[in-house]
Amino acid sequence: MGHNVYLPKLARIIEIKEEVSGARPIKTFRTNFLDGDGFLYRCGQCAMLSVFGRGEVMISISSSPLVKDYLQFSVLKMGRVTSALHDMEVGDVLGIRGPYGNSFPLDEWKGKNIIFAGGGIGLAPLWGLVHMTLGNKKDYGDLTLIYGSRTSKDIVFKEELEELKKRMPVHLSIDVPEPGWSEFVGFVAQNVMDKKLSPHNAIAITCGPPIMIKTVIKALKDLKFEDEQIYTTVENKMKCGIGKCGRCNIGRHYVCKDGPVYSWAELKKLPQEY
Amino acid sequence: MTEEFEPRIIAFLCKWCSSAGSDLAGVSRMEYPPNVTPIQVMCSGSVSPLYIFSAFSRGADGVLVSGCHPGDCHYIKGNFYARRKLAMVKKLLEHVGLDPERFQMSWVSAAEGQKYTQIIKDFVNELKPLGPQMKLRRNP
């Protein structure tokens, strides 16, 4: 018998950044395993974070696998466990299990133009991917990031996005006009249409709230993207993370183990249970 | 082991009367046993049966709910409601076999520091021979 699959590894929080404050706050946590090693993971995978005494929550890993000094998670304060996470401080210890789930098929995407379309906290699962592809830029065609949030205050990775603009096209949007905002105003899907993205040799990955994912996929379809060219990540309530506890399934698929990354071609075939 | 058992009492005291009564006992330096953990509530009528079950579940040896005398409630009727509700709680706890002495209710006004100390003294003395409350205590 190997390692106990339910036993988290302990990690210490080495850095906390408050990305968004207000009613729907987001914080980014960087962690290091206490035993010095970590785990190997691929872009798109998630990990179970434990706040002992509170419980566990599945969070996508927002750092790129290329980064070796820390593991990063960006967390929206939503329920019991994420609230407890938000109360934690640098130096505190949490538990991490994983990595879990499938990943983005980066090998298949070599040589293609890649479009990232994120909304709100939905940029987190894409963030590692953005940096991974950027780090191996010669392997891919054009990289484009489209990101939208409710207001300018809700933008995650704000400084990093500014930095990113120097290296690849980044199109930001906010839902309603604000004084001083010079970029696009409207929903992510509208921004996708506005930028007239070409489906030619392209892959588009979208992640965000369910309604955003739906509208972005529709926009991409309108732009003549094929189902196979569109990817998204799905989330459902999870407990075990390893396809046994039985609650995150969409049809025969356990999102924790068989997901969270799906092409629209695959997801379309599954029942609407997410 | 000869050390005497010291019961732990959770007391839900209404802010306007009983809590003030216990304060009076304190500032007047009246002597009474230190076995009580007071929890101030707005009114005895606001004490949910859940609080009482929960106190026993987390290891209380006795639970006291104390409010204003009938007619003196800051919210006019709160203690009358409490009287009914907690009568039912008391009957229920007795029905499942909890020692009836473990759940008590009292009326203590802001001026009755003396009465408060007496109630606590009596309560502690009644609980001591019963030993620790293990029945409803969480047993992981």
Partner: protein, 357 residues
């Protein structure tokens, strides 16, 4: 993970006189022994208090034998806050002590082979397997169906199925015909070796006859369900589920008492807060509770009881078949007999089969 089987050719068939059964139990001192016991008109697998207190009969317990290998509650680990703002985790694996369960119904044995699949694979469940490996399941072939709602023969089972069992006993009246099926079962016979005799050819014939007769006594049938998995796939959005679930009251009986249901919850139970100390605990959970799939945002992918009944049927007759090529139902009939409102899985599946035709 797999339970070592006895190779064919070294099968161990024996005869045990019923009067010697308590003697055998006495030899099993090293084991914690479970058997069905009746309390308040309800049968359940309970620890046996003494060797004379086991009466093996054709009874159906309320809670299936899965509770021995997959208890309703178990510890995963303890967490404890340390002085230096750290945390110490202590793994709490079950003990190795051997367990033997008597009177296991063949449908429950088969059910265990299904949970075996779930708890194996890439992420092997150490808690399940620790218990599973320590447990010897002694089946009792059903002479008469222990429940009026038995339908094992319709879901690839039988009242004398050997799957998942370590030892199968068949009641021959004065004796038990005992067939060791695994090394564990063989060991159990060896513990009381002197009590067991070699069977005569007519004993084997008698056992076989009883087993064949038993099959005929099963009244309920669920026929022609080969196409049900495919059918279910096409019925996901059908109003059928609304109608079928009208009388469901969303309790957990059908799933908690199902020998194949394995869904669970994990929670941190805090014992003290300063310093923090407690345990992570696994408990059964069920797809029939509304909070099972509810996101913390309040969004619920299965908000209605119709979607939850659909999940139960789909999981048993479609998803599980797609993943493991087996129905996740062994026909014990508990969910039918014990449903407070009489929802009958046989009828639901039959209606699915006949839907639209």
């Amino acid at each position: 993970m797999e339970i070592p089987k006895i190779l064919s050719g070294e099968m161990m068939d024996k005869i045990l006189a019923k009067k010697d059964f308590p003697e055998w139990l006495k030899k099993l001192e090293a084991y914690r022994v479970y058997a069905p016991r009746k309390q308040d008109d309800v049968w359940n697998y309970e620890p046996v208090s003494g060797p004379g207190n086991v009466q093996l009969a054709d009874v159906m317990t309320a809670v299936p034998a899965k509770k021995i290998v997959f208890p309703q509650r178990e510890y995963f680990f303890e967490f404890r806050e340390t002085d230096d703002n750290g945390t110490k985790l202590t793994e709490l694996l079950p003990e190795d002590n051997p367990v033997v369960v008597f009177g296991v119904r063949p449908c429950e044995g088969k059910a265990v082979t299904l949970t075996d699949k779930v708890f194996s694979g890439e992420f092997e469940d150490p808690y399940y397997w620790k218990r599973r490996n320590a447990t010897t399941l002694v089946g009792l072939a059903c002479g008469t169906p222990p429940s009026p709602n038995c339908f094992c023969t319709s879901v690839n089972g039988s009242p004398h199925s050997k799957e998942g069992l370590d030892l199968l006993l068949t009641d021959l009246g004065e004796t038990f015909y005992a067939e060791a099926l695994t090394k564990k079962g063989e060991k159990l016979i060896l513990e009381g070796q002197k009590l067991f005799k070699d069977p005569k050819p007519e004993d084997k014939k008698k056992a076989e006859k009883i087993q064949v007769e038993a099959e005929k006594k099963i009244r309920r049938k669920l026929n022609r369900i080969e196409n049900v998995p495919l059918k279910l796939k096409g019925m996901f959005d059908s109003p059928f589920w609304d109608d079928e679930s009208m009388s469901c009251i969303r309790c957990g009986i059908c799933t908690y008492l199902c020998p194949t249901c394995h869904c669970f919850d994990m929670n941190d139970e805090v014992e003290t807060t300063t310093p923090l100390q407690g345990k992570r605990v696994r408990t059964w959970d069920t797809c029939q509770f509304p909070d099972f799939t509810m996101h913390s945002s309040g969004h619920n992918p299965r908000p209605e009881k119709s979607s939850r009944l659909r999940q139960r049927i789909n999981h048993k007759f479609q998803y599980f078949v797609e993943i493991w090529q087996n129905y996740q139902c062994t026909g014990c009939g508990r969910c039918i007999s014990l449903c407070p409102v009489g929802i009958d899985i046989i009828k639901v599946v039959e209606k699915v089969r006949d839907y639209g035709s």
